[in-house]
C-alpha cells in the first residue's frame, strides 16, 4: 500500500541508513540461557547494589 502523500517529498528525520543493532546479534549468540541472563541483569540493576571492585 502506498504511503500517504504527506510523507512523500518531505525531509526525513532518520538521516542515514539504519544498521541492524548489535543487541540483536548478541541476543542470539550461544551462551547462558535467557532466564539465567535475566537473573544476572536483575541483580545488577537492583537499587543499592554496586558493582564489585576487583
Amino acid at each position: 500500500m502506498p504511503l500517504r502523500p504527506a510523507r512523500v517529498g518531505r525531509v526525513g528525520v532518520i538521516g542515514h541508513p539504519v544498521a541492524k543493532t548489535a543487541v540483536v546479534a548478541a541476543a542470539v549468540t550461544p551462551g547462558p540461557s535467557p532466564v539465567a541472563k535475566t537473573a544476572v541483569v536483575a541483580a545488577a540493576v537492583t537499587p543499592g547494589r554496586r558493582r564489585r571492585r576487583i
Binding site: 541492524k20 548489535a22 564489585r52
Partner: protein, 152 residues
C-alpha cells in the same frame, strides 16, 4: 508547534522491531502495552509504520490506518503525527532482513520532558545520550565474575 511546547518536548525515540518469517505471534499483547503506556502518560506515540521487505529487497510500507481490525490501536492511530517521510522508510528498512516484517514506532518520552526542560532552563545542553544494551551489562558482570574467579 509553539516555542513553549518545543521547550517542553520530551526526547523522541524510535525502534524497529523485526519479525522474521514464521516467528510472529501477535496476540494483541503489544498493542495493549502500548496503549497502557500512553494512557499512563509515560509516552506519546508520534508515528507507526509497518514495513515488509521482500526477498529481493524491495520494501513496502503500510500505514496503521490501512490495517484491518486495529483493536486498541485505533485510538492511537487517530493521534499519529506522521513524522516519518518516505526517505525514512528506506533508511529504516536498511536494518531489515529480506522476507521479514517490521513495526516502526516513534514516540515521545513524556516522562522525561519535565527533567529535560528543567535541564535546559538550568543552562544544560545535551551532548550525549544512548542506550546500554542488556547484553553489555551481562558481559560486564560476567567479566567481573571471571576476574574474581581468576583472582581467587
Amino acid at each position: 508547534m509553539t516555542q513553549t511546547s518545543l521547550d517542553q518536548l520530551g526526547p523522541v525515540d524510535y525502534v524497529v522491531v523485526e519479525f522474521p518469517v514464521g516467528q510472529s505471534n501477535f496476540t494483541g499483547e503489544m498493542a495493549d502495552e502500548l496503549v497502557a503506556l500512553t494512557a499512563a502518560g509515560t509516552i506519546r506515540v508520534i508515528d507507526i509504520l509497518i514495513l515488509t521487505k521482500d526477498a529481493d529487497g524491495s520494501v513496502e510500507a503500510t500505514e496503521l490506518s490501512d490495517v484491518e481490525n486495529l483493536g486498541p490501536l485505533q485510538q492511537l492511530e487517530a493521534e499519529l503525527a506522521e513524522l516519518l517521510a518516505e526517505e525514512d522508510v528506506v533508511n529504516l528498512a536498511a536494518a531489515m532482513e529480506p522476507g521479514s516484517t517490521a513495526g516502526v514506532l516513534i514516540w515521545e518520552n513524556l516522562w522525561a520532558a519535565p527533567f529535560a526542560a528543567a535541564a535546559r532552563r538550568s543552562g544544560g545542553q545535551l551532548i550525549a545520550d544512548g542506550r546500554i544494551p542488556i547484553q553489555a551489562i551481562i558481559a560486564a558482570i560476567e567479566a567481573d565474575d571471571d576476574e574474581l574467579i581468576e583472582g581467587a
